[in-house]
């Protein structure tokens, strides 16, 4: 795990960020798949009001979404462990520069390593995955 800086060289990107403690509203996949740190939610579609997405994942409405549009020349700092989804508004080029956690930052709760991660989701009409 790292912090990350995303520098936008050309084109635009919209980013959606959620704090680590928002996992309870973001329906992560279970720990038994290769990518348990991914959400089941299609964030762009959920936000556009897609009925299926909103029906299945109602708690996304409770998740505080930090968002912005990165334009050429802008730099975004994204803290480690923050959830992020990205939508390209143009053909674009980004430069990603990750950097390490310090020793204090490594001592965080890691709920995604628990066996019940992604299981107690309260998903309506659960998805088989």
């Amino acid at each position: 795990m790292c912090h990350a800086a995303i520098s936008q060289a050309t084109g635009r990107k919209r980013v959606y960020l959620y704090a680590p403690d928002q996992w309870i509203n973001l329906y992560p996949y279970t720990a038994d798949i290769t990518t348990p740190r991914a959400s089941r939610v299609d964030i762009p579609q959920w936000r556009r009001g897609d009925a299926t997405q909103r029906h299945r994942f109602p708690r996304v409405a409770n998740a505080r979404c930090y968002t912005t549009v990165l334009e050429a020349g802008d730099l975004l700092y994204m803290p480690a462990f923050w959830w992020h989804a990205v939508e390209a508004l143009d053909a674009n080029i980004s430069v990603l520069t990750p950097f390490d956690l310090n020793s204090d930052e490594q001592r965080v709760d890691r709920p995604w390593t628990r066996p019940d991660w992604g299981l107690d989701q309260g998903i309506i009409d659960p998805i088989t995955s």
Binding site: T35, R40, D74, Y77, W83, H84, A91, I93
Partner: protein, 265 residues
Amino acid sequence: MEINDDMSNVLDTDIKIEEVSAEEATHQLFTEIYRAKKPFVARRYVQQWKACTAWQSPSYLLNLLGEDHQTKVYTAADNLNFGVATAAASRVPIAWHEMLAEIYATDSTTSTTTNVATTEPSTRRLYWKSHLVDPWRCDVAPLPNELFAPKTQLSEKLAQVWIGSKGNITPLHFGMRAVFPSKSINQSINQSINQSINQSINQSINQSINQSINQSINQSTNQPTNQPTNQSIDRSINQSINQSINQSINQSINQSINQPNQQEY
């Protein structure tokens, strides 16, 4: 532009990420206010990069690697979401000039007034990744070391360049490796073992058959009472296969474990 652009996809409940100017963005501000606490945007912080002007030109990008350069690029199963957990993005071989043509064709044919999620692109969407090596590296100097790591310097080894089509979506995740998994070590080992075993078995069978046939033919010719060719072939094949499989497994495991880029970002 954002207000009339339905790609902005803004909700009333959104929190706008805090913004600081390039002048305000100092290491002190970063450590005191933001580090490990919340995101921020430093507007125009890297606008002096040569990349911000030069990389606007597809012909400049073409010359960076040369149009005949062969590379690999991610595609999305639904032509939209790159690296959904259940259907990870896959990489396909492509010529550099073809890749740039496809990415920049998508950019001009889907106008900004249309909803990217419902518009059929004229071409497939692509996402290309490179480590931050030359010739990319020299166009992005200086990296934001002063802001984030004035003493230790940002690792160029971890840094990446991403070129993507308009409309590409990176699905919600955290940690850099969650969406573009370069396979878990276990998966890599299993795949390598399977490939190696198959290759070895085929090689061994062919070698054994040839050897056995030759031996048998020689022996048979000289000593007509010797054992039949089939038994000899079977025995040789089994021996060879066992040896090869053991060798392959050991080699594969060593290779997979030693493969670079397995670390978790």
